[in-house]
Symmetry: D2
């Protein structure tokens, strides 16, 4: 099963919250998923950095699409963990995720989130989590 990036983009566009944040899928394959979103004032916290909740959204969603690339797009994030390593600033966030191991109904994925200033990427967070197929055996 290979899912096209166009199909994946339709799913992303059908998420009102992702549209609110102007997130877009730049890459989508079983090797790597890349999600980008612009850094506007509205995604910041009190010190002018990107809010941690936006960084975690980017990680969470990139992990989900990475899992979706191998399990099919009817997936959810079951759980994830994120370490913030630097304040996120610049003009865009880039979240790149890939699959570490995939079973039939779950995939363990990793993600790195970078902030983009001019053309320079700076690592700001790393995440690891489990993606589950909805019609498989998820937690619900």
């Amino acid at each position: 099963m290979t899912i096209s990036i166009e199909t994946a983009r339709e799913v992303l566009q059908s998420q009102p919250f992702s549209k609110l944040l102007n997130a877009e899928l730049v890459r989508f394959s079983s090797e790597c998923v890349e999600l980008r979103l612009p850094v506007s004032d509205q995604v910041k916290q009190q010190n002018g950095f990107v809010h941690g909740g936006v960084v975690s959204y980017a990680a969470d969603n990139a992990l989900t699409f990475a899992g979706g690339a191998v399990l099919g797009l009817a997936v959810v994030t079951s759980e994830f963990k994120i370490n913030y390593v630097r304040p996120a600033k610049g003009h865009a966030l880039i979240a790149r995720a890939s699959v570490i191991h995939a079973g039939k109904t779950q995939a363990v994925c990793r993600c790195e989130v970078f902030s983009l200033t001019s053309d320079r990427e700076v690592l700001c967070a790393v995440a690891q989590g489990t993606i589950a197929a909805i019609h498989g055996c998820n937690n619900a």
Copy 2:
């Protein structure tokens, strides 16, 4: 050091992303922090549930304020982990966080996120993480 809920609310209001999501602090003490946000269409994903990224924002921010209640409000979330246990729906999200252990510069906190339908709270996620004082020894 006791920080008033009014001071904590000012910090929350100075976060553009929290204002975008209409988050508010309902409780703020060293015992428990409660953050609420309304569930509007714009925070949803493609199946009509609250986007996981919004649930993780709520957990992250409630954890931060819980740590802030004991460490002072100049804090950041260093890392956290979240397990989603049910799809979040209803008309509001409630994130309640408390401190498990506080040192001088870091606190380990836990959080439960509920969705509110009528007056019924349903657990939708649990989180655990580390909050660090900014002017202490953080990762930056």
Copy 3:
């Protein structure tokens, strides 16, 4: 399905590593699982505290049995996260775990690990993780 503590103890006794550490199940119910192990010199690290790997073993195994109390004993830990909050010392470790949410094939559980000195319990770690039924849809 109710599993007796005797049955659970047989499973624990069939784990050579748990026998090596002299772990025992003190409580086993769908409400709470308590695992204890004595602190001998052989479980220590270089500064005389209990090795973190032993604390994580206790958390991991208590989480597994907590999940097993509701899912049946053919379970594995899929993933967990642990925060160490104090060095573990004293003469025993106590890990208490409980189920936060159980589905048909997975359970999300939490655990607190205490060190016991005389009769005083001191919290040394907190953990949260996912337990999966082996014959359900696990990752393998």
Copy 4:
């Protein structure tokens, strides 16, 4: 500051629990730390696989030494998260860890744990965590 592998091995040898498990440091540099331990019957669980607690010990300790390679050897694991992706079997466990980001007093590290059968390595777990310098600002 460069720490020799001999010095790191002395620290490992001063951990009674690591000696109990016959763990050894095969590589130790700021680029990569590799910890190995033989799979004897005593580290197994009831189905003949390596006990998860042993896998988590290997991940935890490899993470600690990876952090120690950049922060100095007086370090502890503050927290980590592990996903088990396959049952661990074979005749040895190999845990390889590296630093993702290092500050002055903390480092965020990642680890992969493999089981070794003949000469074939099979991934069985991935971990991510925070290592803290003891004399810096840790949680204690």
